[in-house]
Amino acid sequence: MTERELVIVGGGPAGLAAALAAGEAGVKDILLIERDQHLGGILNQCIHTGFGLHRFKAELTGPEYADRFVKTVEKAPEIEVSLRSFAVKLTGDRVITYLKPGAMEEVKARAVILATGCRERTREMIPICGSRPAGVYPAGLAQKMINLEGWIPGKEAVIVGSGDIGLIMARRMTLEGMKVKAVIEIQKTTRGLTRNVVQCLEDYGIPLHLRHKILKITGRDRVEKVEVVRVDDNFAGIPRSGFEIRCDTVLISVGLIPENELLEMAGAQIDPKTNGPLSARVNFTSIPGIFVCGNAFRVYDLADNVSLDSESAGRSAAEYLGKGSADRGNLS
């Protein structure tokens, strides 16, 4: 088992910002582990613009935004990056086990920052009944298919939920020649940013059905249609308000869940409602010396804010290690 001053799990915007801030605050021995073969996390598949408006006063794409951090991290002598490294275990006394091609490593850290991001809520969590054909994808997966692999998932799509990823994907699929037939949102208002409703739906004439829900997905092998119904104030379907939309693709964009399986393994308290750590202060957990930042702490709208709060996590970890002084970020 090796020993490190600070181990950061996750090389997305949160982990990158935390690593840089910790380094600046005087931590000299930082290991950043990332399961993917690149740093940048989910930003790598966000090829649309809208990143960095606050931080860099520039309209950057996800990869461009990430790149500004990655370049600095790569030059920082105190930060060692381990790619294709997958953390499988964390103990309460901060021993991290991770796998990478060719090795299973154990490292004992004096402080840990978990920047493991979030996952998408799935169809199964709503849950939508019906059959289980090919063509039902979490919106983020569809984004990855199109933007990173150049694969077009279908021809005609319906999007469930008006989260930002869903909205962005409505535009993206339209630009790729797919027909987006509707976005279905059970709430009275959209979940996504207004600018995304305007720029991704309205500009392309894509109908948004608020206060509607999907009753059922139909299709034996591939999606054939969805049944949609208007809902009342208790989200129950209103009789005779139903209609069908034929499509071969259904994207699910109904929210994100912080990924805190490692933290849970370590024995920290987790809020069962949000899956975020139970804590009175941003980035802190119930275990001293284990910090959580970015979307793993709580789901943010903007990467700029992830970076900002994650820097404070880096400084808090440094302070815990007896370096510099952290700011007292209180939960807003």
Binding site: M104, T122, P153
Partner: protein, 479 residues
């Protein structure tokens, strides 16, 4: 044209078990399956319970074969085939002590069938061993021989072992025509997948479609009536909730809504039981969800809707109340193994022995092979092994450290191995490895798995499917 001694239609658990049993003997055997992979029929979507053998009438075929199948799996097959068989035991609970006589009756009938170790247990016993049972539960019948397997991995193991012993599995071979012939000992000419097979004996193990095969062969008709069962899987995190397989008292048509823990550690609730006219109807319904939840929560109130992470439906291929296993005199050489509803997964190895006996009494010579490979090496799965073992595997093959599915910890080696063992679809990879069956439902790993499949199978991504033709995942590639 291919000729053989025995041609088996259907690579579900029934056909696979028969193929494996017959592979002990010097026979030329084909196992034909219409789907792209084995185990894609009824055998993929069920509860995975290796029933003790209670809840069946003592005079029934399924009662007798269930007890014997349970014994074979417990004592022989689980070891020989490298199955993960968890002998957790089952409980049939009652909510009212007035129902004790009903439990006594099940106990007595089970005893007559040869079910071992049955014991009526009181609330104190239950509190010590199944602490999350609700206050309504008063007593239970305990059957220690019951257990759980992964149903599809059971079939894969049978098929792999049968193949290692010379059985030829032909997937994507739907039997479309059967002619009676009398040529050089062959009695049937079978059309499947664009090929013609001649065989002396024909075994009908076609599950939901056994009635259609029977009709094609000119045997007396029977009707398979699908009875749908919806099942709901809970998050592995809730695995601590349940230790045994927990049943309520059975009703006329079904064993009721159960709570089980799958061999992979997820609690599961269901199945419902409703007849449907449609052999392709695998949809789940809001009513089914409500029914499963209500049934399960009566026994264990701490189960909640928010725990559910996946669901599916399966169809029981029912034909009356019992299994139909017999030779068909109207079509000499045809053996029927139909109506294999629950507990078919359990009974399959015993059904296979029975089928072999029928074949033997009707003239099939069963001469044992000198070298029958009884053992099937167990595929390595990181999710099933301790860390030291993982370390050793990575040292042997670095790609074990290359994690593809992070929710279930599945490495690139396991994905490739699954494909080498016969996975042709995304579901096939999932069933074998668990990749995509965790909390994120493949959100993170699907593209990587598709790329590995593209490489291993030499297919363009547009031809990679979820479960066979028609279920293509990608409709186009940007060039």
């Amino acid at each position: 044209m291919e000729t053989c001694d025995v041609l088996i239609v259907g690579a579900g658990v029934t056909g696979a078990a028969i193929a494996r049993e017959l592979s002990r003997y010097k026979l030329k055997i084909f196992l034909l399956e219409k789907e792209v992979e084995a185990a894609f029929g009824v055998s993929k979507s069920n509860s995975g319970i290796i029933h003790a053998g209670t809840q069946n009438p003592p005079s029934s075929l399924k009662g007798r074969l269930c007890v014997e199948g349970n014994r074979l799996i417990r004592e022989e097959l689980s070891k020989d085939l490298g199955l993960t068989f968890v002998q957790c035991g089952q409980l049939i609970v009652i909510f009212d002590l007035k129902d004790l006589p009903a439990l006594e009756k099940i106990k007595k009938e089970g005893g007559e069938l040869g079910v071992k170790g049955l014991e009526i247990v009181d609330r104190a016993w239950l509190d010590a061993r199944e602490p999350n049972l609700g206050p309504e539960v008063k007593a239970a019948l305990y059957a220690p021989t019951a257990g759980i397997v992964s149903p599809y991995r059971f079939v894969y193991a049978l098929v792999e072992n049968a193949a290692a012993n010379g059985v030829e599995l032909k997937t994507s071979h739907k039997v479309t025509a059967i002619r009676r012939v009398d040529e050089g000992g062959a009695r049937f000419e079978v059309e499947a997948g664009g090929e013609t097979y001649r065989t002396r004996f024909l075994v009908n193990a076609a599950g939901l479609f056994a009635d259609e095969i029977s009709a094609l062969a000119g045997a007396p008709s029977f009707k398979i009536t699908p009875r749908k069962g919806e099942e709901y899987l809970l998050d592995k995190k809730r695995g601590h909730l349940v230790n045994h397989i927990i049943f309520p008292l059975p009703s006329e048509n079904s064993k009721g809504i159960l709570i089980i823990k799958t061999s992979d550690g997820n609690p599961m609730i269901g199945p419902t039981a409703h007849e449907t006219g449609d052999k392709a109807d695998l949809s789940t319904t809001d009513e089914g969800l409500a029914e499963a939840l209500a049934g399960a929560r009566r026994m264990m109130p701490s189960i909640s809707r928010g725990d559910i992470i996946a669901y599916f439906a399966g169809l029981r291929p029912a034909c009356g109340r019992d299994f139909v296993i017999r030779r068909e005199d109207a079509a000499p050489g045809l053996i029927t193994a139909a109506g294999i509803q629950s507990p078919g997964l359990t009974a399959a190895p015993a059904i296979a022995v029975m089928a072999a006996d029928i074949l033997k009494t009707h003239g099939l010579g069963l001469e044992p092979k000198k070298e029958f490979h009884r053992l099937r090496p167990r595929p390595a799965h990181l999710f099933q092994i301790p860390p030291e073992e993982t370390k050793r595997l990575i040292a042997k093959n670095p790609a074990y450290g290359d994690i593809v599915c992070r929710c279930e910890m599945v490495s690139a080696v396991e994905i490739r191995d699954a494909i080498k063992r016969g996975a042709r679809t995304l579901d096939g990879v999932k069933f074998r490895t668990r990749a995509q069956s965790g909390r994120c439902h493949g959100g993170f790993c699907t593209t990587r798995i598709i790329k590995i499949m593209r490489e291993e199978l030499g297919l363009p991504v547009t031809e990679i499917t979820k479960r066979g033709p028609g279920s293509e995942l990608i409709k186009g590639e940007r060039i």
